[in-house]
């Protein structure tokens, strides 16, 4: 069932990696138990900055989860055969990312034992309710898709016809999970940094840059570790997608900066001053991170836009790393923490994540890495069976690309 047995067979490198991740997860569990008994005061969050690293990571990872659509859309909707060997990897990345999202929300709860209250007392006017529904649904959707397609492949048959509408459903659903997450922020009248219509488009653009960038890195890593090659054309197409998304994201950022700085409205400018230009009494950590994020974005654009660099695999790796880090800082820290500065009463309260908080976050990432390791092991083991991938979906069978 679920072909788990395929993940239990591996070499020393595989087991060393898995066990290392287990240790990290165990350390995080210990920190979490301390957080449970003491309270969230163990983190660096405060009365004025009530969301921090946990919610920031959740926001970023929803984007990574949604980005699977950038592979699913061309492959399943437009029969772009290049992505044949990559699609399953994208789906597994989505499952791991959504699981990490759910975990990050869970560790951020003040009363985690009561989290089911969200389902027991459904509240349609709350965006957080819809976020839970859409994330849960997306997880189930991708799990079903991955399981069915991989099982079919293992048996050497085409997947059942009903999986195609399910796959097509995952496309708008992917867009919706990130839009709903953006709605968490962009509907709050008191937070001027977030109260902008461009927040959801910005989220999507940065998601479609950071997610596929990570996927490219994972594919190259897989090839180096296992010899499983998704194909250079798949990687180069995905790199083009990352480029376009990054350009659009940079454009959106410039739009935000123009509206704020040209209108000179204090409540609008202040956040960007805290993040990028610096103001007296401002938070140093946020200023440093904001500037790094912008600088990395510029470097990433340079490397991605120039074809000579983008087509060179080594430069592409650098470009993807820089893209990912830039957007991780921007969405994972600056966006969430920046929205709380200044507070509704004008105070700028410094936020520095504490060690337990960082450890718990790292442990959630480790758990996600563990999940993706297991998933990829299963997928690759099935594929290495040498069977031809006969993907029906009511269209012509697609052979396994060599």
């Amino acid at each position: 069932m679920f072909m788990i047995e395929k993940a239990l067979v591996g070499g020393r490198r595989y087991w060393g990696w898995a066990l290392g991740l287990f240790v990290v997860v165990a350390a995080g569990l210990y920190c979490y138990s301390r957080q449970l008994s003491y309270g969230l005061g163990i983190t660096g969050m405060s009365r004025n900055v009530t969301w921090g690293l946990y919610i920031g990571q959740f926001t970023f990872l929803v984007g990574v989860a949604a980005s699977a659509v950038m592979v699913v859309l061309p492959y399943y909707l437009h029969n772009h055969k290049e992505f044949a060997r990559m699609a399953i990897l994208g789906e597994f990345l989505a499952i791991s990312a959504v699981s990490m999202c759910v975990l990050f929300i869970f560790v951020d709860m003040g009363q985690p034992a009561r989290v089911l209250n969200v389902l027991l007392y459904p509240t349609p006017h709350s965006m957080m309710f819809w976020d839970m529904v859409s994330l849960g649904g997306y997880l189930v959707l991708n799990a079903v898709i991955a399981l069915v397609t991989l099982s079919a492949e293992r048996k050497g048959v085409a997947p059942p016809g009903w999986i195609r509408p399910v796959i097509l459903l995952s496309i708008p659903w992917a867009i919706s999970i990130h839009t709903v997450t953006a709605f968490l922020y962009s509907g709050l009248p008191g937070r001027s940094f977030w109260l902008t219509a461009i927040l959801a488009p910005r989220f999507l653009a940065s998601a479609f840059a950071s997610g596929p960038a990570l996927l490219i890195l994972l594919c190259i890593l897989l090839r180096k570790l296992t010899g499983y090659d998704v194909g250079s054309s798949a990687i180069s197409t995905l790199a083009v997608i990352v480029t376009y998304a990054m350009v659009i994201n940079a454009f959106f950022v410039l739009m935000e900066l123009f509206t704020s700085f040209y209108s000179q409205i204090p409540s609008s400018i202040e956040h960007f001053q805290i993040l990028y230009t610096g103001i007296p009494g401002g938070a140093l950590l946020l200023l440093v991170l904001g500037r790094i994020s912008l600088a990395f974005m510029a470097v990433a654009l340079l490397l991605l836009l120039i074809p000579k660099f983008r087509r060179n695999e080594r430069m592409l790796v650098v470009a993807c790393v820089v893209t990912f880090v830039s957007l991780w800082i921007d969405k994972g820290v600056c966006l969430v923490v920046g929205g709380f500065m200044p507070s509704p009463l004008g105070a700028i309260t410094r936020y520095v994540p504490t060690l337990p908080e960082i450890m718990i976050s790292v442990a959630v990432w480790a758990l996600g890495a563990l999940m993706i390791t297991v998933f990829y092991k299963i997928a690759l083991t099935v594929r290495e069976g040498g069977r031809t991938l006969a993907v029906g979906h009511g269209t012509t069978p697609l052979p396994l690309a060599k």
């Binding site: 005061g41 349609p124 009248p189 008191g190 929205g339």
Partner: protein
């Protein structure tokens, strides 16, 4: 017709959708009807700044509130819990401020607490209805249901809400057995002393103020003290442009 697996799944699926739809429509409908009926009670408060400033350094209302509701006194400002407190004028009314504002307003603090808005963003965002707007206008909190997500804290444009970052009991100076404390992991705020209102008493801060600067009453009654005060002088509210319709009026 013979029951097949396919038919069973079809019936099950349709039933599930029907049940879910009913719940959703019901929830949406409830919100609509609640707003359409005219209120018999609309609690509000008018704060007379001139009277409040008469006694320098007075914190009687804050002490009364803290004592009545077991509000912990946490010195660490990062994790403090406060229901009512003082803020400088320019922080409370940033859009009313100017560089040449009268000295009296510059140097005297303003009392701030939950505005019990008519259109509260905190209620809109709460995923479990742990906070909701009562028919009499009070924005209530149910500490049994709160999951501590702090979405309401993010949503409040006034910074009125506090989260319990750890167990507050060690920081409670005077334990009042008539009112529960809160536990770590839930959000709290001023509740307009709804438990005292149920007994026909005024809010603790109103009763404690030596200058009678806090005037509490029912906006739905045309001749109430609050209505008369509001009609007789100019009052401002915090960030009215946001459409929250606060029920805390400041006469400056």
């Amino acid at each position: 017709m013979k029951m097949t697996r396919k038919r069973f799944l079809e019936i099950g699926g349709v039933s599930l959708i029907a049940v879910a739809a009913k719940k959703v429509v019901g929830a949406l409908g409830n919100e609509a009807t609640a707003r359409s009926s005219a209120p018999a009670t609309r609690w509000a408060m008018v704060i007379d700044s001139a009277k409040c400033h008469k006694k320098d350094g007075c914190t009687d209302c804050i002490s009364a509130c803290n004592k009545t509701h077991n509000v912990p006194v946490i010195k660490d400002s990062l994790h403090e819990v406060k229901w009512i407190w003082k803020e400088p004028f320019e922080n409370v009314f940033p859009s009313q401020n100017n560089p040449y504002i009268e000295v009296a307003l510059q140097n005297k603090p303003v009392m701030v607490f939950c505005n019990h808005c008519d259109s509260p963003p905190c209620v809109r965002v709460c995923p479990t209805q742990a906070t909701w707007k009562r028919e009499d206008g009070i924005v209530m909190m149910d500490w049994h249901r709160c999951i501590g997500c702090r979405y309401c804290v993010a949503a409040c444009p006034y910074g009125s809400r506090s989260f319990n970052w750890f167990d507050p009991r060690p920081y409670i100076t005077t334990l009042n057995a008539d009112f529960p404390t809160r536990t770590k992991g839930v959000v709290e705020k001023c509740n307009f002393c709804e438990e005292r209102l149920a007994l026909g008493q005024p809010p603790a801060c109103v009763a404690a103020c030596p200058e009678k600067a806090l005037v509490f009453g029912n906006l739905a009654v045309p001749r109430s003290e609050v209505r008369q005060l509001l009609q007789s002088r100019y009052t401002i509210r915090r960030r009215p442009e946001l459409g929250t319709e606060p029920n805390l009026f400041y006469s400056v």
